[in-house]
Amino acid sequence: MLKKRIAVLVAFVVVLASVLAGCGNSSKSGNSSTTTKSTFKAGMVTDTGGVDDKSFNQSSWEGLKTYAKDNNLKVGTGVKYLQSTQASDYSPNLNTLVHQNFNVVYGIGFLMQSDIQKIAQQNPKAHLGIVDAVAVDKNNKPLKNVANITFKEEQGSFLVGVVAGLTTKTNKIGFVGGINSALIKKFENGFKAGVKAVNPKADVYVQYAGAFNAPDKGRAIAQTFYTKGADIIYAAAGDTGNGVFTEAKNRTKDGKKVWVIGVDRDQHDQGLPENVTLTSMVKRVDKAIYDVTKMTKEGKFPGGKVLQFGLDQNGVGIAPTTENVSKKALDAVNTYKKKIVDGSIKVPTTDKEYKAYLANLK
């Protein structure tokens, strides 16, 4: 028995020694991180979708990678991403990059808003960026050290709505949303406004899947819409939209041609080989991240500002692949694009604005 007690004692001493040794070391590791301050570093934290989600996170990372290429930064050290597996990872991941003295740290997605706000207040010298949200302090004023990157999704959605309105043969069009939120409402109302602008007779069915990562639900909704007679569905639902693509491909294989409108990036390849992608509403998160990183490098970090990337800066728009879009629709897109940019059409973002817009249309 004595032997075992000695063993326990030895184990205890070893643990204690390593802890004490750790205390001695901690000051050293603190110093080493401050010496690397001179080189420029930009980092981002993905949400739980991961860096290969085929839309939002991936696009952001592509933006940073392009920036690294143009400025001879090393991927992995000069530009870097940290992936989150659960919502509670956002804060430690953001903090890790801030502690490693990254010159700018992006939180990708509005789900990180409260974490960004807290970290920005704890580290007033850090430069942070958030996509699709505005980081504010207690008095609802934008935080000085956060760049808020937002998009005018309603404008891009309006244009694909115009394409849908001019392409539909059944005068029935579907909209599948991810989570019913202010953000996705911008997609919905912009899209509906675009359809109604060119085709007032068309019906738009709207349904929300309640999740961005549920392709099965996306598919079930698409099934309902296509069966009801819709021939085009706009999927603003992240990974959930991939279910809409599956359903459209199956129907096209069976000889019933239907279309999908993609979102966030050019999803033409997603529709192949059945070629079901009519067009896509692209949201250039990559361009926005690139621009803000560039501004930071030049010492012009847009802290406290709400950047709105719209049609005029090519922050949103229709996809470059236009092989399935008719000439007539493309011409209409260009006309409406001009009208939106010069301000003669104000695209609705909320349900209330949409109602007012409809009343004006008549």
Binding site: M1, L82, S88, T96
Partner: protein, 354 residues
């Protein structure tokens, strides 16, 4: 002390320890095969957790709900019940605590904080009571009913937040400071981590589980039902009532875990589109901890450390964070195949004697 040491069966204790070592070794082999440096990876985990106060704080914070979820699973298991519904009970507790804090926000801190914590426990208890009742009265298998209760919790909480407690960002409003477990003192101590006072609740829960199960008559009954329901019935114990009680107490632990997330870590609840995973990790924590209170604390610490350390492993050694999930899965796999380890150990020691 000597008596306690004597009582421990070293063989059973060896299985989890060897499982952890094997899990880490296999993880290292996978890293080598893919082309990462396992030494650097593990080094960054250990260094960050033990040398950087921020990650120490985050590890302890991650431990709190994990330990409570582990206790919930372990407690039910002692009565021979498999509580897969910890996830749902945790969500119910999370929402109840946050809702209570918001609705009664005008109350002073001394009343509001305990009330909110208790509300979380009560909601978890309710979510455990229902499968318990179904099992006791209608012989509905608790594995099936608790899994179903998870989905009910997932969508009900989403519905309630959406319709009654909604604010921008797909979540509830932030709870008033009077109900918050967060503490600037602990945050400053750990370089601004989210460590909160919930660890005291976790410690109390650990002691409570040990006390209830091993120091009370009721606890003796609960364990007896776990060993053999028929023998307990014959001995005059009310088996159905013990089943209900066990799942209800188990639900309280899980609900408290949710309250810790709501009042401590996040200060709000988001609309979850998928499960949080804490409840399911709780099953693994209980399994590795041999369903004992101390074991749950130790394995909770290990899992929390791996999860938090995995984030620095990602940033320092460039190893994808998914690898941590693989290592955790491997550890569970080895614990599950404990029989093989025991057999191998037996063979080895016998050979040694020859």
């Amino acid at each position: 002390m000597i008596k306690l040491v004597k009582k421990i069966n070293w063989m059973t204790l060896l299985v989890p320890v060897i499982s952890v070592i094997l899990g880490l070794l296999c993880g290292a082999v996978i890293m080598l095969v893919i082309g990462y440096n396992p030494i650097l990876a593990y080094q960054s985990i250990v260094e960050s957790i033990f040398l950087q106060p921020y990650y120490t704080g985050e590890t302890i914070r991650a431990m709190i709900p994990l330990v409570l979820a582990g206790l919930a699973v372990a407690f039910a298991f002692r009565t021979g019940l498999f509580n897969i519904g910890v996830e749902g009970q945790l969500m119910a507790g999370w929402l109840a605590s946050v809702a209570c804090a918001i609705v009664f926000g005008h109350l002073p801190r001394v009343i509001l904080l305990p009330l909110s914590v208790l509300a979380g426990g009560a909601a978890g208890a309710l979510w455990g009571y229902i499968p318990g009742l179904l099992k006791a009265k209608f012989k509905v298998h608790e594995v099936i009913s608790t899994i179903m209760m998870n989905y009910i919790a997932l969508y009900t909480t989403a519905y309630i937040i959406k319709n009654f407690l909604y604010t921008e960002g797909e979540r509830t409003p932030t709870i008033p400071a009077a109900a918050s477990l967060a503490s600037p003192f602990l945050a400053n101590l750990t370089q601004g981590s989210r460590l909160h006072w919930g660890f005291i609740v976790a410690i109390i829960a650990v002691v409570a589980m040990w006390f209830i199960l091993w120091k009370t008559t009721k606890g003796y009954e609960l364990r007896a039902v776990g060993f053999s329901p028929d023998a307990s019935q014959y001995a005059g114990m009310n088996v159905s009532r013990n089943i209900i009680l066990s799942l209800t107490i188990s639900g309280i632990f899980a609900g408290l875990g949710g309250a810790m997330e709501g009042l401590g870590t996040y200060q709000y609840m988001t609309i979850n589109s998928t499960f949080t995973g804490i409840g399911f990790n709780g099953i693994a924590v209980a399994l590795l901890g041999l369903n004992t209170p101390i074991g749950v604390v130790l394995s909770g610490a290990l899992f929390a450390g791996l999860q938090t350390g995995g984030l620095t492993m990602q940033s320092n050694a460039g190893v994808p964070v998914e690898l941590i999930q693989i290592i955790i899965a491997l550890i569970i796999f080895f614990v599950g195949s404990g029989y093989v380890i025991k057999w191998a150990m037996g063979r080895l020691t016998r050979k040694g004697h020859k």
